[in-house]
Symmetry: C2
Subunit: 393 residues, 2 copies
Amino acid sequence: MISKRIEKAMQGNSAIRAMFIEGKEMAEKYGAEHVFDFSLGNPATPVPAAVNERIKALTEESDSMSLHGYMENAGYPAVRGAIAKNLNERFGTAFDYHNVTMTVGAAGGLNIVLKTILDPGDEVIVFAPFFGEYRQYAANFDANVVAVNPDYETFLPDMGDLEEKISNKTKAVLVNTPNNPTGVIYKSDTMKEIAAVLKKKQREIGHEIYLISDEPYRELVYDGNREDFLTKYYENTIVVYSFSKSLSLPGERIGYVLVPDEAADSELLLRGIEISNRTLGFVNAPSLMQKAVAGCLDEKTDTDFYDENRRALYEELTKLGFCCIRPEGAFYLWMKAPIDEEEFVNAGKKHHILMVKGSAFGCPGYVRLSYCVSHETVKHSLPAFARLAEETL
Amino acid sequence: MISKRIEKAMQGNSAIRAMFIEGKEMAEKYGAEHVFDFSLGNPATPVPAAVNERIKALTEESDSMSLHGYMENAGYPAVRGAIAKNLNERFGTAFDYHNVTMTVGAAGGLNIVLKTILDPGDEVIVFAPFFGEYRQYAANFDANVVAVNPDYETFLPDMGDLEEKISNKTKAVLVNTPNNPTGVIYKSDTMKEIAAVLKKKQREIGHEIYLISDEPYRELVYDGNREDFLTKYYENTIVVYSFSKSLSLPGERIGYVLVPDEAADSELLLRGIEISNRTLGFVNAPSLMQKAVAGCLDEKTDTDFYDENRRALYEELTKLGFCCIRPEGAFYLWMKAPIDEEEFVNAGKKHHILMVKGSAFGCPGYVRLSYCVSHETVKHSLPAFARLAEETL
């Protein structure tokens, strides 16, 4: 009595989520301090105190019916306006409230954008390695993802392969920088190259291609790298954002979609996104959280915390002889599996180290370590990694 | 560049939502006190004080990372357990946490249930008049709704027509009691009749049929009617609930899906629903709100408030000569349009009365009045209705 699509999804269910359950079970069995769970991107830095203060103030100041009631499906105009203003101040843009639609996190945002633009059989280009759920999101609308190979030195996109993979079925290209799972940032030069390819191919195939920027890690950048906003590189850019990482609120499901006026069919896109928000069942982003984040747009999570984990892990694992891509942003470390990735992940588990295999990101032969864990977890994991190195290198 | 499905949806966009915007515009133009907006089901009773108290206490007592962080996609086990226990106490059932999945409202719940069970071309039976969005929800999964006619005296389902409309394509029957838009309650006898038809037809067509009970209005019952829980009538019943109306929290998007163990393939259903929650982009129900409602399960909204509106409106409109179905639950009044429904709705607007036409619910020739408005709005609307009666009766 289960649909065929869900039967299929059950077989290939999220490796990351399965690991999340396994990690909790191991923690119960061996004690949390003896399990080194690098599997899930659950933020490890405190929610800025201002967020809970704002929530409390809202419950005291506001009329409860308007605080918890329906609003336009796109969200409160005042909240959307505050976000537009904040972006304009930070990035020199010129948005206003009508460019912004509040969403149930970035996952909700991606789904309503894809529902708005995809017809059955359409293709969405993704850059390997990529967040595995993109495959499901495209499949929700009977479309397919087409993966572009990385340059295996830098884990930036192979531009030749991008050019080859774009066809007249290509409706969108999905970019995620700072990247999950590699931690690599697509900097200005890379974005210009992607834009140049897209502009050229748009002319060739005779229709526009949207660049969808999935940017939950926008603010998590290290080594003096600066936050970037991608609409300036390419006019058909749609930004999908989540406050999950920047304010450590992943359970609250709050984010937004931004469509600039210069994007092709921008008015239709905005209307379609609002309708999709309603008809896919989101209806609107959670109301209290909309108002809470609007009052905390200048708050930041403690990136120094992640940076300390990043440096420790990268330096120690490299010293042990593992081959790692140096992360520049997000909170992931991408490491080559010295043996078969499946065997390597299993060998890790024997030492209570939980890692996610690269094939979950369309890129076998690697593993992802999520370093949103305590400093103690990193420190205590190092002897276990040393034993893993002895066994597998 | 917009998908064909969304293009089509734009043409038939929600009449109710369009009215919501129109109502706001009229309120700005004429002053809110001179507009009688009976169009939207936005609760008009205060949020119980305990809800905001609970929210404040949670922000003070809880570790903020666990309060706002990821949990299982099905929701916090403790929250799900508290809901199961509360249902067991009220309805003599025997559920536990594993039967309950927390959702982004009832709209999110319906979509993940439908995604779990529907293959392209499948049919979902609905009872006219019905909430128009059901059509979109089925279409999200390439399935169709098939409407069963009402008995036009009682607005209960025509059981003969139900039997006729069930085919081997029927995967589910969707029931909504207390009903939107009629306010009618499907009482014990009606539920037993529906169950008998479904049991008979299951045998005939050779596969199970799920009864999906969409029950956001469960607690809004009047005239001594009692809350009911439908799993006792038919074993393949899936309950979809929202706290939107019972706690006046529609903007917060918090509800749940309940699958009893006796439902066919219950374990697969539960897993499929959890996967669908993730892959459709909900990921999980908002975390703070999960914990807030779990602490307020015995709280109730002020049904006396709605009852006063219900009585006033029903009595006065009937006295004026309009033909109304006496509402027993929810907060809607269903009224026969004395002239063409479109003309009648437009005539209403001239007197600043906003009503939704019956064809938005698959039942032309009627209008829905939502009486979740202030007592003053009801009172001040009565002279306008009198003028409308003079013009149209």
